[in-house]
């Protein structure tokens, strides 16, 4: 598919709009703060950020339809994990699962691994449950539930978008090498997260 200047402008504007600060224009306190808190929550943990960006990078390498399927399915599966966390249903090895997601997704990007679509979706969905559960248990009380949730989900989506945007360099030979190096870096960071989770 060809990206025109119009597509690029709309994409950039939508991404920037998602990063905007709240207007605080409503006298009912807590609403905008809830959205902002939710928006900032996913980017407060580097392990989550790296894994989400890696999902986008891998999607860009895999191309259509994976590049679109993963951002559609991931938020819903992640929210399912968040639901389990909110309900207090324990999930063993959450931190190990998050570290493993960075390792495997980074390795997939580094090796340009082309799994079948369903396998890629299952792999990403499996790890989405761990990320969602970790965030579900950390959700702060007293915020506006819907706006917090919306900000939280949107921030994760924008991290995917960042990964997809970076992954666009895949079309150039030097970009492909850079992507593989980035994937290796994410994998190495995952090993560090794993060591930290086990130690």
């Amino acid at each position: 598919m060809r990206f025109t200047l119009t597509h690029t402008l709309v994409f950039v504007a939508a991404t920037l709009a998602g990063l905007s600060t709240p207007a605080l224009a409503h006298v009912e306190a807590g609403q905008a703060a809830g959205f902002l808190t939710g928006l900032l929550h996913p980017i407060s943990g580097i392990d989550h950020v790296l894994a989400m960006v890696a999902v986008g990078l891998w999607g860009a390498q895999l191309g259509a339809p994976a590049i679109w399927l993963l951002p559609v399915t991931f938020p819903i599966v992640m929210a399912l994990g968040g639901l389990l966390g909110l309900l207090g249903i324990p999930l063993p090895g959450v931190e190990v699962g998050i570290a493993a997601s960075a390792i495997l997704l980074g390795a997939a990007v580094m090796t340009e691994r082309r799994l079948p679509l369903y396998a890629a979706a299952v792999l990403v969905g499996f790890f989405a449950v761990f990320h969602g559960h970790a965030h579900g248990t950390e959700l702060p009380p007293g915020e506006s539930g819907l706006l917090y949730s919306l900000g939280f989900v949107m921030a994760t989506g924008f991290l995917h978008a960042v990964g997809i945007a970076i992954g666009a360099i895949h079309r150039w030979p030097a970009g492909r090498i850079a992507l593989r190096i980035a994937g290796g870096s994410v994998g190495l960071a995952g090993i560090f997260f794993l060591w930290r989770a086990i130690a």
């Binding site: 402008l9 950039v12 409503h26 992640m78 949730s149 939280f152």
Partner: protein, 205 residues
């Protein structure tokens, strides 16, 4: 020839959307809630809908769903939803007490899920969902307006805003479907469904 006419329109529309979205980068503290300004119950209704995500998001999700499914769905939705909202609102205002309420997460999960799945609903189903959504949310608005003193004029403000918001969203979804834009709508649906799922967790926790 037709393509030549369409292209500049799209370019202008894209520039306008880009400019509008870029403006959101520079918000200031508005403190603009009209309930305090005394501009009246119609404005109370308008601001109530615009500032209540539990109402706004399901309405927008339905508008996108109808827009993605085509003009027949879109035309029905933009008429049925505001009318049902108005009828539900009038009933709620007259009743004056909460009696018909749906959990906030349910329409988000269902409508967001349908948009995310790009589910091929028949036009009759879209219309039925619009009617149900309008009546349930309108009734809840009506009881709130009655208790707040805005009454029927508040409901008229809400219904008009529902019409404007859903017409604009439906038009955008119906017009912008080429290539990745249709996927972008589905991603937005996935975000709404995921938010509904998390809201379910919040309500049960």
């Amino acid at each position: 020839m037709a393509g030549n006419r369409v292209k500049p329109f799209r370019a202008r529309a894209a520039r306008a959307v880009t400019f509008g979205l870029a403006l959101t980068l520079f918000p200031g503290a508005g403190h603009a809630h009209l309930i305090e300004t005394g501009l009246g119950p119609v404005y109370d209704g308008i601001t109530h809908f615009a500032l209540t995500p539990e109402d706004l998001l399901p309405a927008l999700a339905l508008a996108v769903l109808a827009g993605l499914r085509g003009k027949d769905h879109a035309r029905r939705a933009i008429v049925v939803l505001p009318l049902a909202w108005l009828l539900g609102g009038v009933a709620g205002t007259l009743a004056g007490a909460p009696g018909l309420a749906a959990p906030a997460w349910l329409p988000l999960l269902v409508l967001g899920g349908l948009v995310a799945a790009d589910f091929p609903l028949p036009a009759g189903s879209t219309t039925a969902i619009a009617a149900l959504l309008g009546i349930v949310l309108g009734y809840a608005n009506g009881t709130a307006m009655a208790q707040g003193g805005a009454g029927l004029r508040g409901i008229i403000g809400i219904a008009c805003t529902v019409f404007v918001a859903t017409t604009m969203a439906t038009a955008c979804a119906a017009a912008w479907q080429s290539g990745w834009l249709r996927i972008a709508w589905r991603v937005a649906g996935a975000w709404i469904a995921a938010s509904g799922l998390l809201l379910l967790g919040w309500s049960l926790a």
